[in-house]
């Protein structure tokens, strides 16, 4: 059963790669969200797909490579990149807190949503240090990432510069957005990877500082 869950995920993924325009993660997730309950695989799904989740930690480490390769470009546009990333991280935290408050969400839920721009394993661990639900944080991180990935072509058209679009996607839409940026434009991909890594770091540092100010 567990192996069936893994095979199903991989099979749907490779079919989804052939669907034009829609990011494969969206297609795969929608198809699996229907198929998994229909086949009564919910219990086996977690164990079956554990190998994929285990690969996330080395994948995050692997982001060091684009970061290293683009170090010269990044250093040359260091000031705009850093200002963009810090402003975007802070804006995400504050926006989540304010909008969440306006809609009457509890502080615990907001603490889980605020770090969601960080890549989901990072968001989960930040949320648990803030005393919020790590599962909800990871869920919100991936959901936000998918939204960002869907907005990517529009953002590229509006922003013009692929490097700036990459920064935005790396900050706002974590790994999912970074993968999408890399598929759209190589330069956007590299700056997205850098932005994603730095954003995760900055969010981890800023969240415990900024959130108490907004939430008290």
């Amino acid at each position: 059963m567990a192996l069936l869950a893994l095979a199903l995920t991989l099979g749907v993924w490779f079919l989804a790669l052939r669907v034009p325009r829609i990011p494969p993660i969206v297609t795969t997730a929608v198809v699996l969200a229907v198929l998994v309950p229909a086949l009564h695989l919910q219990r086996a799904y977690g164990t079956g797909t554990e190998p994929l989740v285990l690969l996330l930690a080395p994948a995050v480490v692997a982001l060091a490579l684009p970061l290293y390769r683009e170090r010269l470009t990044l250093l040359r546009s260091l000031a705009p990149s850093l200002v963009g990333i810090v402003a975007g991280s802070a804006a995400a935290l504050v926006a989540a807190a304010f909008v969440g408050r306006a809609f009457g969400l509890s502080d615990t839920v907001i603490r889980a949503l605020a770090p969601r721009t960080a890549t989901s394993p990072v968001a989960a661990s930040i949320a648990s240090t803030l005393g919020a639900d790590p599962h909800l944080a990871a869920a919100a991180a991936v959901a936000g990432g998918v939204l960002g990935a869907l907005l990517a072509p529009l953002a590229l058209r509006l922003a013009g510069d692929p490097r700036h679009t990459g920064l935005g996607l790396g900050v706002a839409a974590n790994g999912v957005g970074t993968a999408r940026a890399a598929a759209l434009h190589p330069q956007a991909g590299a700056s997205a990877a850098a932005a994603m890594a730095l954003n995760a770091l900055i969010t981890a540092l800023l969240a415990p500082l900024l959130l108490p100010l907004v939430l008290h």
């Binding site: 546009s77 804006a91 909008v99």
Partner: protein, 137 residues
């Protein structure tokens, strides 16, 4: 030997084996760095997740030994596969999102607004700074 009906000489078989071995070894290196990052975070009581510290460690390592950047083929396919690695998380995200009950629409709006705001603010701040710092202004 033939693969899909195409003759496959022994020379290439050895090369394929070598590629697989190097991929596996470099995956091991990346995993070890993630664990090293975990250990560092635990020992130093740092608020950062282990794998991210592993990323920092690897960048530092590559700056010291640039030639090693070519010895990590696993890194490229891991990054390309990254969206697939998120799929199980997304499928499992359905449960905690459903558990929110009537708070779900508010959470959805919050996530959407925060995503769009941070995307726009990042791009705008980066553009503004590069415009302000450009010598030709």
């Amino acid at each position: 030997m033939a693969v899909f009906g195409i003759p496959y000489p022994k020379k290439f078989r050895l090369r394929a084996l070598r590629t697989v071995a190097i991929s596996a070894a470099s995956l091991g290196v990346l995993a070890a760095l993630a664990l090293a990052g975990d250990a560092l975070a635990a020992v130093g009581h740092l608020p950062l997740p282990g794998p991210l510290l592993g990323t920092v460690l690897l960048v530092a390592w590559l700056c010291a030994r640039p030639a090693d950047a070519l010895r990590l083929p696993a890194a490229d396919w891991l990054i390309r596969l990254m969206p697939l690695l998120f799929v199980p998380l997304l499928v499992e995200a359905v449960a905690p999102l459903r558990a929110l009950g009537h708070a779900l629409p508010a959470v959805a709006v919050t996530v959407c607004v925060a995503t769009v705001v941070s995307l726009a603010v990042t791009v705008f701040a980066a553009r503004l700074t590069s415009w302000l710092s450009s010598p030709s202004r």
